[in-house]
């Protein structure tokens, strides 16, 4: 299954857990309002993971909220990972010609050790959200009965409807997949390569590669930035100690050192902010989705090859090939557009965050320059009006903490004045 192969991408090291923004396991925030995007009649959100204990096992449940114009929906339901997995199986079985978005991968053996770690759960929450979101926005799958059941069945009854293992329905679904696979093996040798679809397969394969690299680089970027933040804090501490040891004749040095302390402090704060690990949820999912599409194309190619090889010349096969081809054509067109939007979303988040971190850093160093070159120490310690503070900092948005942030705590100001 495509989703298993992408579990490698979500492989986590111990160092990960501190970098990223994590909602707490017991978080149950006030729900933000669900708004439907332009052109869609449904909106979905997955959030608020909670660890639940039952008689037999412990597991995490996720709150799923949905507003839809087509059916009445309860304000929120709770689902566990297995339910999502079953949903995916059912969708795949019910729509054999369409690739369903793959569910986020299972744990790798390593992750079993820490199934409840905050960062892992956070990433999975985001991934499940992306998963349901793609289903909701899919022209065919959104109308699926399984999907409706998933969203609307009350919590107490969900297990009866969505039993995970050994479900007869599941066996049937599996069976039909096997049937297709079996047919494919009969037509050896005859390979028909449609230029239209073969270039699509090439693109999908290349895209998976790009998405994997992007995910990896972004993880490194965030990790590197956090490491830098720690070093900036060290420098701030060193400068603070130095500045307190500067004596009467070292005014110039002290001003310089205080400046560096202020700058390093601001840079450390800016770089130390915790980014959302959305890239680790969305990008692997999109890559797996691309792989699933490629599989569907290969499936269709096999059918076509079979038809061409002439082993089964019934009209039925020809119809099936036509059906599959049409389904793929329309699917690929809209899939590519939506996937590009999703990729744009992730890139936009990364870029926006970097811009804000760097802007904060720049502001800090500019302020540091003022501290270091200011010959009259007086005005640093004046109380100023809020508007006066605004005038001191280059951007109006960061006003209250932008200016004399470094100084109110300094005990040894040369002229003894305090804020």
């Amino acid at each position: 299954m495509a989703s298993e192969s992408s579990s490698a991408m979500l492989d986590m090291t111990d160092a990960d857990s501190d970098d990223m923004d994590m909602p707490t396991l017991m978080d149950d925030q006030e729900p933000s309002p669900l708004i439907m995007e332009h052109g869609y009649d449904i909106a979905i959100k997955v959030d608020a993971p909670i660890k639940q204990l039952s008689t037999l096992e412990t597991y995490v449940t996720y709150r799923v909220r949905c507003v839809c114009a087509r059916w009445p929906t309860p304000p929120s339901v709770r689902r566990r990972y297995n339910h999502f997995k079953v949903l995916h199986k059912r969708l795949s079985a019910a729509h054999p010609l369409t690739a369903a978005p793959p569910a986020p991968p299972l744990h790798s053996a390593r992750q079993q050790l820490d199934r409840y770690s905050a960062s892992f759960v956070a990433i999975r929450t985001l991934a499940l959200n992306a998963f349901l979101d793609r289903i909701a926005k899919h022209p065919i799958l959104t109308h699926s009965e399984d999907f409706r059941l998933f969203l609307t069945t009350p919590d107490e009854e969900i297990d009866k409807v969505f039993r995970s293992e050994n479900n007869a329905l599941n066996l049937w679904g599996l069976g039909s997949a096997l049937a297709y696979g079996g047919d494919g093996r009969h037509s050896n040798g005859v390979r028909v390569k449609d230029p239209e679809f073969s270039s699509a397969v090439d693109y999908l394969n290349a895209l998976q590669d790009k998405l994997a690299t992007l995910c990896d680089l972004t993880t490194k970027l965030y990790r590197g930035t956090a490491a830098l933040a720690a070093e900036y804090s060290s420098m701030q501490r060193v400068c603070d100690v130095w500045s307190t040891q500067c004596g009467a004749r070292c005014g110039g040095t002290q001003r310089g050192v205080r400046g560096v302390s202020a700058g390093a402090g601001a840079a450390g704060q800016a770089a130390g902010g915790r980014p959302s690990p959305s890239h680790r949820a969305v990008l692997p999912l999109l890559a797996a989705y691309a792989a699933a599409q490629a599989d569907k194309i290969r499936q269709r190619d096999r059918m076509h090859a079979e038809y061409v090889s002439g082993t089964d010349t019934s009209d039925d096969l020809q119809n099936r090939v036509e059906e599959a081809t049409e389904a793929l054509r329309s699917e690929l067109w809209s899939w590519t557009a939506k996937t590009h939007q999703d990729i744009k979303g992730v890139l936009a988040y990364i870029a926006t965050r970097q811009v804000s971190v760097l802007a904060q850093s720049l502001q800090g160093w500019e302020q540091a320059l003022r501290v270091a070159t200011d010959t009259s120490v007086h005005h640093l310690f004046q109380t100023v009006s809020k508007n006066g503070v605004r005038n001191l900092s280059p951007t109006t948005s960061a006003a209250p903490h932008a200016s004399p942030q470094a100084d109110p705590l300094r005990p040894d100001s040369p002229d003894g004045t305090d804020t």
């Binding site: 693109y203 290349a206 895209l207 790009k210 690299t213 992007l214 680089l217 490194k220 970027l221 590197g224 930035t225 490491a227 830098l228 070093e231 900036y232 060290s234 420098m235 060193v238 400068c239 100690v241 130095w242 040891q245 004596g247 004749r249 070292c250 005014g251 110039g252 040095t253 001003r255 310089g256 050192v257 400046g259 560096v260 700058g263 840079a267 590009h340 990729i343 744009k344 890139l347 936009a348 870029a351 926006t352 970097q354 811009v355 760097l358 802007a359 850093s361 720049l362 160093w365 500019e366 540091a368 320059l369 270091a372 070159t373």
Partner: protein
Amino acid sequence: MSKDNTPVKSPKSPKAIKTVEDFENQDTLLKHVDITIVESEKRANGTLHVRDHYTVYLVDLKVTDPDYKLVQSKISTIWRRYTEFEQIHDYLQVTYPHVVIPPLPEKRVLYAWRKSDTTDPEFVERRRAGLENFLLRVASHPRLCFDDQFINFLQEEHGWRETITDSGYLLQAENKIKSLSVSIRLKKPDPEVESFKNYGKQLETNLGNFLYTRSKIIEKNYALCKLHANYGKLFSEWSVIEKEMGDGLQKAGHYFDSIADSIDSVAEDEEQLADQLKEYLFYAGALQQLCSNHEALQRNLEQAQDTLNNRLAERTRAAAGKSGIMSRLFGTTDPDIVRDQTTRALDAKIQADNEAIEKAKLDLEEFTKKVMVEIDHFQKQKDKDLHESLVNFITLQVKAAKRNLQAWTQIKECLQNMP
């Protein structure tokens, strides 16, 4: 050492300096000549072993004052290697114990954040600048700049090594090291000198910590910026397989590359600032050395006083007729003749002792006077220099932050403008 074209000896003696203002108004060599180190060259001792390769630096001396007679010729250029600089530095250290001797640039690579050794072309260039700075510092110090050996260092190619060894500075240096290795416990340490010594120690520690944290920051920052080159490569490869997103990805890729490229010049500039701070790290050591020299003189005085006290006690015993060992063992007293003889001999010695004490006192007083002026001037210079270096450091950070912010803002725009 007399030749026909021996330069005229400098008429000014540095003893006229009583205050810092005197200090600054004194004549210095630098007011009449220009000193630069133009270039460096690799030499080998004939063998091809890497060990026997060394670097020489071209010292260029240009007389800017047309009437100046002190130096032999208008222009002279001499090749000198690092060990010869060490020789002149050590010579100055023993010959002028009351002066804070300008330090040499580092012998081994300190606070390195990437693999480098003393044969690195970048390191050689930084050393060239450091050695030039050393010469300028010495040439602008009124007490040091007219020293014969120093002037010969600048002009006389051959035979300089012999003349400097002949001056016997090596022996003095070794003696000094021996005397300093005995820990000096003064009965009445001078509080001002003590405080300067502590000040020197603190400065050394603070600068050391600063240089360490700065090297950690540049190391991580460098790695982070070079990561952007991977983004650049990814995006430009990706843009090839995309239709609508291709343009945006490629443009963004270029900006990523620019970030990766920009860090190199920042690192170079910051390294120069680090060198300036290292100079003061070593200066702090020189200051402590100066205080140790003072302590040595004070110890001489205390020893002379101890000698006198012992002698006085001896004389009292002799006067009482109990000078010999016999009297201590058997309690006998000396006959009168012996008593008179020993007493008179001791009186002569006591007079010599008193004279020694007077001399030691005078030496110490003179030394202290000179030292106070010296330290005063040093502190003023140090405050100015460090303030400038730190301000330049902050300015560099502002520049780098601005550049990165600009690049990422452009990246964000390119990505947002993708269809």
